[in-house]
Symmetry: C2
Amino acid sequence: MTALEERPAAPARTTWIDCDVHIAMPSPAALRENLPEEWRERHDRYGGNPFHASLYPRMALGAARTDAWPPDGSAPGSSLPFLREQLLDRWAIEYAVLGPIVRPDQAGMRNPGYAAALARATNDWVVREWLDPDPRLRSSIVVPVEDTEYAVAEIERVAGDPRFVQVYLQIKTSAPLGNRRYWPIYEAAAAHDLPVSIHFGGVGGHPSTAAGWASYYLEDHAGNAQTFQHQLVSLVCSGVLERLPDLRIVLIEGGVAWAPALVWRLDAAFERMHDEVPHLTRRPSEYVADHVWFTTQPVEEPPDPRSLARVFDDLPCLRDRVMYSSDYPHWDFDAPDQVLRTVPLDAALRAKIMTGNARELYRLPR
Amino acid sequence: MTALEERPAAPARTTWIDCDVHIAMPSPAALRENLPEEWRERHDRYGGNPFHASLYPRMALGAARTDAWPPDGSAPGSSLPFLREQLLDRWAIEYAVLGPIVRPDQAGMRNPGYAAALARATNDWVVREWLDPDPRLRSSIVVPVEDTEYAVAEIERVAGDPRFVQVYLQIKTSAPLGNRRYWPIYEAAAAHDLPVSIHFGGVGGHPSTAAGWASYYLEDHAGNAQTFQHQLVSLVCSGVLERLPDLRIVLIEGGVAWAPALVWRLDAAFERMHDEVPHLTRRPSEYVADHVWFTTQPVEEPPDPRSLARVFDDLPCLRDRVMYSSDYPHWDFDAPDQVLRTVPLDAALRAKIMTGNARELYRLPR
């Protein structure tokens, strides 16, 4: 670096070649304007999908329904009055379990102290702005999952408030969730009688699919169910469900209909290879039946709705394990009076899905 | 480096500290002997699973059935007379489609010339030692998938031999198989009326699951179906099936029962996000129905065999797409008179699975 005033005047005959000079478009909008028309709309709607995370459609638009912006223009999902109007009051929701929207990479932040501070800030804000003002709300505890000690500390810090009804992990983690490094998180959750929920999102630091980085949001959106399958396989095979008989796992926004085929494969492989995992005393299907819950949105929508009803025959434990979810305020929101409407479910099962299973899991008083 | 003879004699009072001296156990067996009893058996049976590949159980034992060693002690699957005795003659196999066992990392070898040479050597050996001596055999073309130009050249080199009935890829690749870099491989295959098969195995250079590296073979074995799902999603969303209407994809050793749920999810997501993939003119389910075949082994084995029969109702195209496979000589071999035995399939469907679908796909004369 040379101070300008110290610079000697250049003799007229001297020339230079500078091989590293940066220019920039004046704003993000300028890049958009330079795109051909056919790409502008996709640019607006789907934004970027660089080689670092599985992202979410309409992220630049809060991933939200087009009507989800509160009147004051603040972010979708940020206004309690508007949540009451659009969801809680409109459909007479008895309880709603909040999953605070955090930055996609928050839980996996590499600076452990910063990740912990972000989690504490989020949980405190949830208490102040949401749980205190509305008795219908329950929330999930955001934790810095990649630093087990800080994650456990955050659970211990807030678990005394019974309105926190589960620990909140995201599906993308730096190691599979069965890894022993994460076990103290499950132990802390089980000790406080809290389920551990796993939701779409997060950043793991490795490709978004087992085949590599996906090219389209469509792939991550539809293919996301496979990451849930991998995490479930990891949790089952690790032995943590054997070690913690009371641990409850909730898979949120990961689908349901894949579960029977996965459990069949796992059981068949286990039958031949159980000597590799002597820490498992039961078949994989038994751990799934006893420990794993699922939420509906986005539930699979087969062309013949009877196919979805049959999933409950193929894996009977699902009758007690599937719970309605709306994914409000996101763009693929499922209304409670629309979801599963055409699926031929018996009335008892429908009641379990819409209220009973969640009431029992989260110990929600009538 | 100091030549010993040039070294001055050290004065008696001089001492040194050497901070990098290596020792080694005298043989791999010595490591085994130093393991406690409880780990020795697993060490023998499952070998290592380091952070670089999804491997396969019993790899140190050829991943083979215990009776699969030819009398001369050579490797399982290396003797044609023994293959005739144990498989072709014993069960009156009309045709067998060979998938040459290659080193797990062969297709993904980083030295492109070496990978191409290994593929050529394998295909030439297949012609000489297997296809020429036995008219019941057909084979797959091994290609160096990560160098598209060399892979296409190898297809062009051998595709004139009609006994090569498909191109042979492995499920682990450095990018998802829909990536445009691989398209010339599909174009070459389609131009020669050859299906492209994708089999368990390979090395992609990234974690074995979308959740990270699995801890147990059991996870890779049962969870492998998820990688097949990711690859299928990639192929469908990429548009290569739109571009090549005659391209046929065969998923080998990846399971079947997951297909309906995956297709339902893809179609539902596509309905909302098709503007992101305007290169697709049809729903994902239509590409799957027209382009994708599946082999049976290891087929899912639900506790109620009717569940497996229902998979064919849930995704009717599967009636024309599922083909019997034994996986000989591997340890989880399925005999043709045992597989699907308890599953209530109509006779026409059973005949399609056991012979008809393969005869049609591979154009096998009666």
